[in-house]
């Protein structure tokens, strides 16, 4: 959906900002909002683009930095940590060839940390594009990633 059509669903009230940002970012394959789009949203709502950029910067859910097609979020909270989350992250870093916070050269994956995903009973856990994967082992992670790789080829 284009930005225009999303904007047209909302009244020009500043309180709609967050919802607009969330809905629009959802439509973007790089999970990011550009400067020009920030400008467009700001103009529509009658706020400064500084304000819009500030809101985006506050929420980890929102981004202005383009990400890969699939965003992998590994939980780094205590229950996952004591259940060998670091081995999961190391595996991911090794097979993807990137560190947390980075994106693969083919723009397919971005690896990042997240706070609790609510799966402490099945730790360690991660989320890829909204889908939760729990009770992870390095082997499971390898299988999941090759499945995603397969999808896009």
């Amino acid at each position: 959906m284009s930005l225009e059509s999303i904007l047209s669903k909302f009244t020009k009230a500043e309180t709609n900002l967050l919802e607009i940002l969330l809905q629009y970012q959802e439509t973007k394959t790089d999970h990011a909002i550009t400067e020009a789009e920030v400008g467009q949203i700001a103009a529509y709502l009658g706020v400064t683009e500084t304000k819009v950029a500030s809101v985006i910067s506050f929420y980890t859910l929102l981004s202005m930095k383009p990400k890969g097609r699939y965003v992998i979020q590994v939980c780094k909270n205590i229950p996952c940590f004591v259940n060998e989350q670091t081995a999961i992250t190391r595996t991911l870093e090794k097979i993807l060839g990137i560190h947390a916070g980075e994106t693969t050269a083919n723009n397919l994956f971005t690896l990042e940390y997240t706070s609790c995903l609510g799966c402490c009973d099945n730790a360690p856990a991660m989320r890829i594009d909204g889908k939760i994967y729990a009770n992870l082992t390095p082997d499971k992670v390898k299988a999941i990633i090759s499945e995603y790789r397969g999808r896009s080829s």
Binding site: E35, V38, V47, T48, E49, T50, K51, V52, A53, S54, S57, F58, M64
Partner: protein, 576 residues
Amino acid sequence: MVNLRINNRELAVAEGSTILEAARTNNIKIPTLCHYPDLGIQSDCRICVVEIEGQKGLATSCSTIVRDGMVVKTNSPRVLNARKTITELILANHDANCTACPKNLSCELQSLANKLGIDENRFQSVLTLSPLDEGNPALIRNPNRCIKCGRCVDVCKNIQGVGVLELMGRSHHLKIVPAFDHCLSDLFCTYCGQCAAVCPVGAITEKDDTDIVWRALNHHDKHVIVQVAPAIRVSLAEEANMNPGTVCTGKIVTALKLLGFDQVFDTDFTADLTIIEEGNELIHRLTSGGVLPMMTSCCPGWINFAEQHYPEILPHISSCKSPQQMFGALAKTYYAEKMGLEPANVFVVSIMPCTAKKYEAGRKEMRANEDLPDVDVVLTTRELGKMLRQMGIDFANLAETPFDDPFGITTGAAAIFGASGGVMEAALRTVYEVVNGEPLTNLDFTDVRGLDGVKETVVKLAEKPYRFAVANNLKNARLMAEAVKAGTSPYAFIEVMCCPGGCIGGGGQPYGTITKTRLDRIKATYQVDAAMPIRKSHENPAIAKLYQEYLDRPLGEQSHNLLHTHYHARRGKPNN
């Protein structure tokens, strides 16, 4: 009233006060850092913490409202220890190279550290250096010194209604920057400098041009002249630790001569000239069906704001250059000719209360001779203060000297340009008498004086009542501009000054300007006016002589070439 105990003293304070207010009104000192009297509560530095009996954690006194029966300790060992730790943590993420900082000795963080007795930091520095934002002629933003107090965000967004700066990111990634981490010049900054005026540290400061002036002064071929803006005479004394509102006109002239300027002139002279040109422009617009309301043009912060946010209303803005630029244009034409000097050898310095004037002087439109700026360098009040200290001038004890001719004879009307409402009042004194052909019985248009955001008066011109308004600061300017844009503005003429209180509260004025300081400077401004032998611009004999010798007549061809300009719709980057 609320009864509470602070440090074992029983106090009764007004309901709704904060602990900080309660303490200060009772002469109990609590240190603060993010707090600034005229701004909102930031409550982010945590320096002002106090202990409240029965409460586990420490509370920030600047944001905690008093309750009946509260027992507060402002100086317990726990409080002192917390303050010290907080300060050390702030310093661990701060470029504390104090002697290389323009705020050295006027920095609030430095003086706090000193008061708390911090001579050693237990924490290692975690500062990673970021590049400076210095791509504009007016201000430098040094993020490495920023302590994230949020004052600049507050003043820019809530006082000025501009909103260039914001908090970006969160937690230890938090930064105070314009959108997208761009430079001020890429966004819609007006260079008003109010952010620099309230920054407690040296993270936003004016571009220091004192070195260029020293070089010019030591250059033997240059004829270096200086003009002094109306608002400086009621504020420069503060740079020498004298009281706000001390009138120091004659001392300024003496000091500037000691610094080595060849001639010292008064911008009040071209303020009078502005009134003649702008007054005639208003009369012309009123009588010839011109674009109304007319809006003033002396304030470059306002021009920057209008060009970027309200291009539709540019035809409403008077085509008159500001007094600073009228002076510059005359200096490099009329004055140079009169003195038999090459315009290129006349070096014009302005002392202004303003950071936006630095930008204005660089505008391409401000050139009577191609490739030669009319005003070479603009120094703020603070920069002049610095030069006086560099030269070891004992300002308080200087004798008084009058301004030099031919730009030295001025009026009370020009003197009040420095206060919000002053340009309007000066214009009304002249327009009334010129149009109605009779002398005013009372020269004081008190309705337009003072610190209110919007001020109004009604004056009859040729039997017809007209409404006049003054917008004090950019937030109120926006209100005016919206109405003008919508075609609903009921006024004939609107004065806009972008800084709170007018130029006396300019972004380049001595640090620590608060409402009280503004009121003191305003009071002094009207004292200067009242003491002037001539108080109306059209009665200035030197202005009459200038028209006779050089300009011919108001709004004439020569005036058009030298004293008027035009504006451009633009976004971000200045057009020079």
